[in-house]
């Protein structure tokens, strides 16, 4: 069972980082939103930002300008009444800030004021004409004293218009050099300029009363100038008020524009910087603190998915193994109930029971003893973790099987104990093992008995030869002759034994084909073969054929069986019986073909019956001829034929029964 301890940590980290991300993003959004909300209101904000002193300054300038404008109004009024009065009204020194603003504002608005400012003595205080070639000089327009200016009520009329000769003006017009004023109209700030010729102003020709030329030197220049007395048309309706002057604002606006521009630049820079820093932080933090947990989470999730897939693969593989192994596999809980069982296990139950096996204990279907044995090893496995046992069990499906069962305890995910049982059906192995053990035992017995039975007659004969040698020396020929007979007998029996052993070896190794055998014929030839045996003539032979068809068997083995059984019957006849007989029968019985050879001879002692078909067993002292291998060979041959051999004791005598499978009849 897996536990991802990192889960909790990861989720905590992701919560913290989520909060950090949320805060940072919120701040960024707030900053950007503020910027967008602030921009439209920036003017008002800056207006309010202007300092008191700045506002005071503006007020003073405005007042001066107002004063100037008023003077202009008077001038225009005079001009309209053919009274050329002052136009150089600004008694300002050259450093008048209002005047500078005045000019600056004009430039700001793309105008090009041609302004000359004179003092009352006619000295140029400021001139835009300076350096401009077409205006070489500007004359004072008015001949006013300082007092006149101050006291407007004493303003004198001038009938002379100071005009400047414009050398480029071929029609000889003079330009009226008047200062400008500025105003703010509905459409914005504008400049009203009086630098035009009089007809620009009056939009009419002026009548010239008189003309005189004057030429004089001024600042090293010869200035020719003409004076004209002009009769100006009647007054135009031109009021300063029409222009809605607002000088105050000109100044403050320019200032504000500059400040705003500056502030905007700073603000945008700050906001961008702040946002940049935040995003940089986000980028830095993002990788290590914010994104990492998410990436970890994603990674963990991928890992989990991967792990889950692996687990699923592994589970299905385990399940495949569990279901496919030939062993009987099952899982039991602590109450000995089967919670899982594979097909091999279930197949040990009759089909009708299979569906209900899981959930029951396995012991219901067994005898109480076997059930107890089962549970004993279950208990041991639960207690010690492991148990192993080999047992032969009668299964619910009626088959007896030998199983080697291993039980292993394991813990489920909820902490409960289970046992996994794996039972291997070793019935076949067991049978083979038993056969092998038996074969081995037989082999040992064979080696032992062979060594004994081969040596005995040889040793005996060698001893006899010594005796014979002495007897011949001593001329005791009668005994010598007797001894020679005994030696012959010993060696003959030795020869029989060797022949039997050879036959046995041959029998074990040769694969023989089946063929149809006429049993009657075999019996006849066998009797013919043994007709020279002791007692043959005394015995009455009888054959009863209830099954007389040829049988399909390995001929030599079948013949060997019958020969052995018949020769035994002859060998062990009872000489004391007046009418010894041997009966050979054939019949069919329960789908088998049965042959029997029975006699009324010496029979076999009861305590020897079980050893009857073992090697080297002889049962009759004094009449002991033969190798003791005969019935052993009979048994082996019967096995090869797919049949069986059995013995029945008769009173008196013996009966050997050979059963062959019904297939032998086909």
């Amino acid at each position: 069972m897996w536990k991802f301890d990192s889960d909790k940590i990861t989720s905590e980290r992701s919560i913290v980082s989520s909060i950090v991300v949320f805060v940072l993003i919120s701040v960024s959004l707030f900053l950007l939103l503020s910027l967008f909300l602030l921009l439209p209101r920036i003017d008002k904000i800056f207006d309010s930002l202007q300092t008191q002193s700045e506002q005071e300054t503006v007020k003073i300038y405005s007042a001066q300008l107002r004063q100037y404008i008023n003077a202009r109004e008077l001038a225009i009024h005079d001009m309209a009444n053919n009274q050329f009065v002052t136009n150089a009204v600004l008694l300002a020194d050259g450093d008048n800030p209002a005047f500078r603003d005045y000019i600056a504002a004009a430039y700001l608005l793309g105008e090009n004021p041609l302004l000359t400012v004179l003092d009352v003595q006619g000295e140029v205080l400021f001139s835009e004409l300076d350096g401009v070639i077409k205006y070489q000089w500007a004359m004072p327009l008015l001949e006013l004293s300082e007092d006149d200016f101050i006291d407007k009520s004493n303003t004198k009329k001038s009938h002379r218009l100071n005009i400047v000769n414009n050398p480029n003006n071929t029609n000889g017009w003079f330009e009226l050099a008047v200062p400008v004023f500025y105003g703010r109209g509905v459409e914005g700030v504008f400049i009203a300029r009086f630098d035009a010729s009089p007809d620009t102003i009056y939009q009419a020709n002026v009548e010239i009363n008189s003309e005189s030329a004057v030429s004089y030197e001024k600042d090293g220049h010869i200035v020719s100038s003409g004076y004209r007395e002009m009769i100006l048309p009647s007054k135009q309706s031109l009021s300063i008020n029409d222009y809605g002057l607002n000088f105050t604002h000109i100044v403050s606006r320019q200032y504000a524009e500059e400040q705003r521009k500056k502030f905007l630049e700073e603000l945008v820079f700050s906001v961008l910087l702040g946002a940049g820093i935040i995003f940089f932080l986000l980028f830095l933090l993002g990788r290590k603190i914010i994104l990492k947990p998410y990436l970890d989470l994603v990674k963990t999730k991928e890992l989990l998915v991967e792990r889950e897939r692996e687990i699923n693969d592994s589970l299905s593989f385990q399940s495949l193994i569990f279901e496919s192994i030939p062993d009987l596999a099952f899982v039991k809980d602590e109450e000995f109930r089967i919670v899982q069982a594979n097909d091999a296990f279930l197949s040990a139950y009759p089909e009708s029971m299979r569906d209900s096996v899981v959930g029951t204990t396995s012991v219901e279907g067994y005898s109480p003893e076997e059930a107890e044995a089962f549970l004993e090893y279950d208990k041991e496995a639960f207690k010690t973790g492991f148990s192993e046992t080999e047992e032969t069990i009668l299964f619910p499906d009626g088959v007896q099987r030998t199983l080697i069962t291993k039980k292993v305890r394991f813990q489920g995910s909820e902490g409960k104990n289970f046992i996994l049982g794996l039972a291997r059906d070793i019935t076949d192995i067991k049978t083979s093992e038993n056969n092998l053990i038996q074969a081995n035992t037989e082999l040992e017995e064979f080696a032992y008995r062979t060594s004994h039975d081969l040596r005995s007659p040889l040793i005996s004969s060698l001893g006899m030869l010594n005796v014979i040698e002495k007897d011949v020396e001593n001329d005791e020929l009668v005994r010598a002759k007797k001894c020679i007979g005994i030696v012959r007998k010993s060696l003959t029996s030795l020869d029989d034994l060797v022949q039997d052993i050879l036959m046995l070896t041959k029998m074990k190794n040769v694969e023989e084909k089946k063929e149809f055998v006429d049993v009657n014929e075999v019996v006849d030839s066998t009797l013919e073969k043994f007709s020279q045996m002791d007692g043959f003539d005394k015995i009455r032979f009888e054959t009863i054929w209830l099954y007389s068809k040829p049988i399909r068997v390995e001929r030599s083995r079948f013949v060997m069986i019958l020969e052995n059984l018949i020769s035994n019957a002859i060998k062990y006849y009872d000489p004391s019986n007046d009418s010894p007989q041997v009966v050979i029968r054939s019949k069919t019985e329960k789908r088998k073909i049965v042959f029997s050879v029975s006699d009324n001879g010496l029979g076999i002692p009861e305590n020897q019956h079980e050893k009857l078909f073992s090697m080297f067993k002889r049962f009759h002292p004094r009449t002991s001829f033969g190798s003791g291998l005969g019935l052993y060979m009979v048994k082996k041959s019967a096995d090869v034929l797919g049949g069986s051999i059995s013995y029945k004791a008769l009173e008196p005598g013996s009966c050997f029964v050979l059963s062959l499978p019904a297939e032998a009849s086909k």
């Binding site: 004994h452 007659p457 005996s460 001893g463 006899m464 030696v487 007998k489 002991s624």
Partner: protein, 124 residues
């Protein structure tokens, strides 16, 4: 030990005769009793009228009752004073051990060494 009577228990006719010849050659006064398996030998011992042998020469492998079964039965008798000498062509150690576990079995002899042992026994 004065040997008057010897019983030979052996299923082999040749060995019976050989042993008998050797015994008689050694001392023709010795009576030789012959049994062809353990059962026959026991029957003879249990028959009150029969001669009680001083020595039994006993073969191991015999049809019917073999040498080992005979020893087992003989051991159950009250009187086990007869010296039993195993006389066999078996050289198997297991046969030897099974025989010599009985105190009355004095020798385990492999055929055909009979004369030597008779000489040895008669000299004691």
């Amino acid at each position: 030990m004065k040997i008057q009577s010897v019983m030979v228990v052996d299923d082999s006719e040749g060995d019976q005769m050989l042993t008998k010849i050797i015994i008689e050659d050694f001392d023709s006064a010795i009576t030789v009793l012959q049994a062809y398996d353990g059962r026959e030998a026991l029957d003879m011992l249990l028959t009150a009228s029969s001669v009680k042998p001083d020595i039994i020469f006993l073969d191991v492998n015999m049809p019917g009752m073999g040498g080992h079964e005979f020893l087992e039965e003989y051991n159950k008798l009250e009187d086990t004073s007869i010296v039993v000498l195993m006389l066999t062509s078996s050289d198997q150690e297991i046969d030897k051990q099974k025989s010599l576990q009985y105190s009355f079995v004095k020798r385990y002899i492999q055929k055909p060494v009979v004369l030597d042992i008779l000489q040895e026994l008669s000299s004691t």
